[in-house]
C-alpha cells in the first residue's frame, strides 16, 4: 500500500507523454552503481496488520492515563476537553501547510493570531510568537534573542540551577558555537545571589517559576531580580508553567522581559514527550530581534480584516545567514490545541484547574509529611514538591509500581546524583482524593528498608 492512485495504464500514458520507455529511465542521473539498492525492511503490512502491531507495542507501555500517576518534571497530565481533539483532528487544520498563501489560510492565521493574543494575556506580556518546538528550545531561543538585543556585545549568560536540567542542556547545545560564558547553575542560588552574578557583560538571567523543584519565586522577589537585571542592562528570561498562571501573578507583572515555557499542559497529550509546543512571549520593543513566525492583522484590498505572517525580514527565508533564528516549521497544530484549550476553559475554568492542582498537591504534601521517615521540603510550591524518602527514590518508585500499580514521582538522582532519596511529586486535577490517599498509604508501606 503506497497510497498511489495511478494505475499501470496511467503510468504508461504518462511515460509516453514524457518520452521515456520506463520509470527506471527517469533516474539516469543517479550513479549507476548506486541505483536501486536493496532496502532491507520488514514486509509491508495492511492497515489491519499495522494497527495490530502498533496496538501490541502500545500495550507494552504502562498507560499513565489508567494508572495513578504522580510524575511531572516538565510534562504534565491534565484533563483535555473533547473539543480539543475534535478541532485539531479536522483536515483543514491538520493537513494544511504553513500558511504561505494567506488568502486560503485564514483559518490557520487567525487561529495563530488568537493563540498569540491568549498567550500574551496569560503571561502578561505584549507579544507572543506562533510557537517554538518545546519549552527547552523556546528557552534557548530566548537566550539567543537576548544576545541579539545586546547586539553581540554581551557574551555572558546567567542560568539558575532551578531551570529544568534539560532546558539548561539545550541552551548549552544551541549556543556551543557562540563562545559564551554560561554560569550560575553549578549550585542552587537564591534570587539575590543570581542578581549578584549579573554584570555588564551579561546578556540575560534565566530563571524558572515555579522552578524545576516546584518552588515558587514570589512576585516581589522576581520584581527585585528584574530591577537588578535591568540595572545591568540585561534581560530577565523566565520559563513559566502556563497552568499555574490560571491563578499566579504572571511574569509580565514582575518585570520579566521574555516569558517562555512548555505549553504541553495546555490541551496537549503527554505522548511520550512530544509533539509539544514552546510558547515565547516578550516585550514589544524586542519584536524585531525575536525568532519564529508571528501572525499580524491587516486588511485585504477591499478593506476586510485578514491575517498574514509578518516581520518576515527577521527570518531565514529572507535573511538567510543573518536571520534571528533558523526556525521554519514550528508546532502550529499544538499551538492550536493550546488555544482551543484556553478558549474552552476560559478565565474561570483555568483558575479552577490551577486551584485544584494547588489544593490537591498541598493535601498530598501534608499527608506525606506526616508519614514517619518522610520529609517534605518546606518551600512554597504550586503542584510539585520534593519528598525525601527513607529509602532510595528509585526503589520507592519500583515498589510503588510493582506492589500498588502507582507511577511515582521523578527520581531526582537521574539528574542530580547526590539526591538519591528525593522524589519530585506532581499532583494535578487528574489525581482524585482516592489516588492521593492510595499514594500516601503505599508510601508508608514501601518506605521500609
Amino acid at each position: 500500500m503506497s497510497f498511489i492512485p495511478n494505475t499501470d495504464a496511467d503510468r504508461s500514458a504518462m511515460l509516453e507523454a514524457v518520452g521515456v520507455r520506463s520509470v527506471e529511465e527517469l533516474f539516469h542521473d543517479v550513479p549507476v552503481d548506486h541505483r536501486f539498492p536493496r532496502i532491507d525492511l520488514p514486509a509491508p503490512l495492511s492497515e489491519l496488520e499495522v494497527l495490530r502491531e502498533l496496538d501490541a507495542l502500545a500495550r507494552r507501555n504502562a498507560d499513565c492515563g489508567a494508572a495513578p500517576c504522580f510524575l511531572g518534571a516538565g510534562a504534565y497530565r491534565h484533563f483535555i476537553p473533547s473539543v480539543v481533539d475534535s478541532v485539531i483532528s479536522r483536515s483543514e487544520f491538520a493537513t494544511a501547510y504553513t500558511p504561505y498563501q494567506p488568502e486560503i489560510s485564514q483559518g490557520t492565521l487567525q487561529a495563530i493570531f488568537e493563540y498569540q493574543s491568549m498567550i500574551a494575556r496569560l503571561t502578561g506580556m505584549e507579544v507572543s510568537n506562533a510557537s517554538h518546538y518545546d519549552g527547552a528550545t523556546a528557552t534557548a531561543e530566548a537566550v539567543i534573542m537576548a544576545l541579539n538585543v545586546a547586539q553581540g556585545q554581551r557574551r555572558r549568560i546567567v542560568v539558575s540551577a532551578g531551570v529544568h536540567p534539560q532546558y539548561r542542556a539545550v541552551i548549552r547545545t544551541y549556543t556551543q558555537g557562540m563562545r559564551l560564558e554560561i554560569t550560575g547553575d553549578d549550585a542552587d542560588s537564591s534570587v539575590e545571589e543570581l542578581a549578584g552574578m549579573c554584570d555588564s557583560a551579561t546578556a540575560c538571567v534565566v530563571v524558572q517559576n515555579p522552578d524545576f523543584f516546584g518552588r515558587i519565586i514570589p512576585p516581589s522577589s522576581l520584581s527585585a531580580l528584574a530591577k537588578s537585571v535591568h540595572a545591568c542592562g540585561a534581560l530577565l528570561v523566565a520559563a513559566v508553567n502556563p497552568v499555574s498562571l490560571g491563578v499566579l501573578v504572571p511574569p509580565g507583572d514582575s518585570g520579566v522581559d521574555v516569558a517562555v515555557g512548555e505549553g504541553q499542559a495546555l490541551g496537549n497529550t503527554l505522548s511520550f514527550g512530544g509533539p509539544y509546543l514552546g510558547f515565547f512571549a516578550f516585550r514589544r520593543e524586542h519584536v524585531r530581534k525575536s525568532s519564529g513566525r508571528i501572525a499580524g492583522e491587516t486588511v485585504d484590498r477591499t478593506g476586510r480584516r485578514g491575517f498574514v505572517f509578518t516581520l518576515s525580514t527577521r527570518e531565514q527565508h529572507i535573511r538567510r545567514e543573518k536571520a534571528t533564528s533558523n526556525i521554519c516549521t514550528n508546532q502550529s497544530l499544538n499551538a492550536l490545541a493550546a488555544a482551543v484549550y484556553l478558549a474552552s476553559l476560559g478565565p474561570r475554568g483555568l483558575r479552577k484547574v490551577a486551584e485544584l492542582c494547588w489544593h490537591k498537591a498541598h493535601y498530598a504534601a501534608q499527608c506525606i509529611a506526616r508519614l514517619p521517615g518522610y520529609k517534605v521540603h518546606a518551600a512554597q510550591f504550586f503542584h510539585e514538591f520534593i519528598v525525601r524518602c527513607p529509602i532510595s527514590a528509585d526503589e520507592t518508585n519500583r515498589r510503588l509500581f510493582q506492589r500498588h500499580g502507582i507511577i511515582g514521582g521523578y527520581d531526582l538522582s537521574r539528574e542530580f546524583s547526590a539526591r538519591g532519596n528525593e522524589l519530585l511529586i506532581c499532583v494535578t486535577e487528574m489525581n482524585s482524593r482516592e489516588e492521593i490517599d492510595l499514594l500516601v498509604t503505599a508510601l508508608s508501606e514501601v518506605g521500609h528498608a
Partner: protein
C-alpha cells in the same frame, strides 16, 4: 463571511468546559501570589466549536485537493497514522516513566531508527530534532564537534550552494560557523570549479540538497563528495527532497556523512498548518558517537520474551537539542507509514512522485519557461511565471489566479536563482486526472494573462479574503487582539 475573533465573541459569565469540584481539604493561596485578573475570552463550548469550524472553512488543505508546493512534499497523510498516534498506550505515556514501563514505545523508536538508517544508508539515526531546520542545526553542530575532536578548530566555513533553502545558511550561523555561497552552473548543478576554489583547510563541510531545489539530481554528486572529503571536510545532506530518492539511492553510500529526514514530508505525517514535524538525523559511523542523546538501544537480555530497550547517550554527544525523546507522536505516524509501505512501497513512492513531476513538466514547459526543462527532473521542477504576450504578469499573479481555479499555488520566488520561480511538486499521491486538470488550469491562466491581465492582477477573486496588505501588517504592527 469573516469570522469574528474569539475575544469579540466573549461575554462576561459565559463558560465552556466545566471543572470538577475540589474533593480534598483546601489550602489557602496567599493573596500576594494571586494574579488580579485573567483576560481570556469567555465563551461557551458551542461558541468554541463553531468558531473553529468556521475558521477551518477558510483553509485549503491536502485533503481537499492538489497542493503542489515545491520542496514541501504535500502528499496525502494516511488516516491510519492518526489512529496509531492516538492509541492510549502512546498518547498517555509520560516521557520520564521508567524504561521498564515504556518498552513498547522504546521498541518503536529503536525500530524507526533502524528503518530510517537502512533507507538512507546510515550507521545511526537520532530522532530528537523536531523539524528540518532543527535537524540542520544538529547536523552542523555534529560536523563542528567532529572537527573539534580532531583538533581542527580552524575549520569554520560551511559551503552552501546558492540554490539552498534559507534554513541552510541560518543553521550554519546559529552553529557559529561562516557561510560561503557556491554558485550553480548552467545545468543547475553545483559549479565544480567554484567548489574546488573554496576547498581549503578552513572548510568544515558542504551542505547539499539532493535532488536540489531546482528538482535536479546533482550530476557530479560522487565527485563533489570525494572532493570535499579529500579537502578534509564533511558533506551534509539536506533531506527535504528525499521523497525522490526512496529506494532509488542511499545518500549514506554516496558520500553524505550526515543528513536530516523530514518525516513530515517524505514519511507522510501531516503538516498541521506549520508543524509539528520531525527532522530525524542520520549519520555515518564516524559521527555516531557525537549524536544527541539519549537514543533507544537494544540492551542485553530480554523482557517478557521480547528484546529489552534502554536509553544510551553517545559518549561524545553534542548534547540534547530538545527535551525528552523528540516528537514521538510524529514518529509513531512515520513508523506506521514505513511499516505499511515496506521497501517496495517506498520505491513506488519515489518512482510515482518523479513520474508525476516529469509528466507535469513535459506538459507545461511549452507554455511556461522551464530553465532546466531539457533535463529529467526528480520530484519537482521550477518553471517561470513568464507568459509570452503578457509582460506585466508575474509569478505571484499566476499563483493567485490558481486559487480561483481551485488549486493551491506552487512555491513562489524560490529558489532565488530563478527569476519569477514557480516551483511545482505534485507528489505521488495525485492521479493523472488531477494533474491533467492542473495542467488545464495553467493553460487557461496563460490565455487569461493575455486576454484579461487584470483578472490575474486582481486574483484571487473566490477566496475568503482578497490579496492582503503585508506592508501595512509590518508597519502598523498588530500581533495581538485589542
Amino acid at each position: 463571511m469573516p469570522e469574528p475573533l474569539l475575544f469579540e465573541k466573549s461575554r462576561p459569565g459565559r463558560e465552556g468546559v466545566s471543572v470538577p469540584g475540589c474533593d480534598v481539604p483546601q489550602t489557602a493561596i496567599p493573596a500576594a501570589l494571586r494574579r488580579p485578573s485573567l483576560p481570556l475570552p469567555e465563551v461557551s463550548e458551542v461558541d468554541v466549536v463553531r468558531h473553529y469550524l468556521r475558521l477551518s472553512h477558510l483553509n485549503y488543505c491536502i485533503d481537499e485537493g492538489l497542493y503542489p508546493l515545491g520542496s514541501c512534499t504535500m502528499k496525502y497523510n494516511p488516516k491510519v497514522n492518526e489512529a496509531a498516534a492516538r492509541l492510549p498506550g502512546f498518547a498517555r505515556l509520560h516521557p520520564l516513566q521508567d524504561p521498564s514501563t515504556a518498552q513498547g514505545a522504546m521498541a518503536l523508536l529503536f525500530g524507526l531508527q533502524r528503518m530510517i538508517a537502512e533507507i538512507g544508508g546510515f550507521h545511526s539515526v537520532c530522532l530528537q530534532p523536531s523539524a528540518g531546520a532543527h535537524g540542520e542545526l544538529t547536523g552542523i553542530l555534529l560536523m563542528r564537534a567532529w572537527h573539534g575532536a580532531r583538533g581542527e578548530t580552524r575549520r569554520n566555513r560551511i559551503l552552501v550552494p546558492d540554490s539552498a533553502h534559507g534554513t541552510n545558511p541560518a543553521s550554519t550561523s546559529m552553529a557559529g560557523l561562516e557561510v560561503v555561497e557556491i554558485p550553480s552552473d548552467t545545468r543547475g548543478n553545483v559549479d565544480l570549479l567554484q567548489l574546488r576554489a573554496q576547498l581549503d583547510d578552513r572548510v568544515a563541510g558542504l551542505m547539499l540538497t539532493n535532488p536540489n531545489t531546482l528538482g535536479l539530481f546533482e550530476e557530479n554528486l560522487l565527485e563533489i563528495t570525494r572532493l570535499v572529503h579529500e579537502a578534509g571536510g564533511l558533506v551534509y545532506g539536506d533531506g527535504a527532497n528525499f521523497n525522490a530518492m526512496l529506494g532509488i539511492a542511499k545518500p549514506g553510500l554516496m558520500g553524505i556523512d550526515v543528513m536530516h529526514f523530514n518525516l513530515h514530508k517524505t514519511f507522510s505525517t501531516p503538516h498541521g498548518g506549520g508543524g509539528p514535524g520531525s527532522g530525524a538525523v542520520g549519520v555515518g559511523e564516524a559521527l555516531a558517537e557525537f549524536l544527541p542523546g539519549p537514543l533507544a538501544v537494544q540492551a542485553k537480555g530480554m523482557a517478557g520474551g521480547e528484546p529489552r530497550y534502554e536509553w544510551r547517550t553517545p559518549s561524545r554527544s553534542i548534547g540534547r537539542v530538545k527535551s525528552f525523546h523528540g516528537n514521538f507522536g510524529v514518529l509513531v505516524r512515520a513508523y506506521t507509514y514505513i511499516r505499511m509501505l515496506g521497501a517496495e512501497g517506498l520505491r513506488a513512492v519515489a518512482e510515482n512522485a518523479v513520474l508525476n513531476a516529469n509528466y507535469l513538466q513535459s506538459r507545461l514547459k511549452d507554455i511556461y519557461p522551464v530553465p532546466h526543462g531539457d533535463r529529467t527532473c526528480m520530484h519537482e521542477f521550477v518553471a517561470q511565471g513568464k507568459i509570452a504576450g503578457a509582460p506585466d504578469i508575474r509569478a505571484l499573479d499566476i499563483s493567485k489566479r490558481l486559487i480561483d481555479h481551485g488549486f493551491h499555488p506552487p512555491t513562489n520566488y524560490f529558489p532565488l536563482i530563478v527569476p519569477e520561480a514557480l516551483m511545482i511538486e505534485p507528489t505521488e499521491t495525485e492521479s493523472r486526472e488531477t494533474l491533467d486538470s492542473f495542467i488545464e488550469a495553467m493553460r487557461t491562466i496563460a490565455r487569461e494573462a493575455v486576454s484579461d491581465p487584470d483578472l490575474l492582477h486582481d486574483a484571487p477573486h473566490s477566496s475568503p479574503v482578497r490579496r492582503l496588505d503585508e506592508v501595512k501588517a509590518a508597519k502598523e504592527l498588530k500581533v495581538t487582539a485589542g
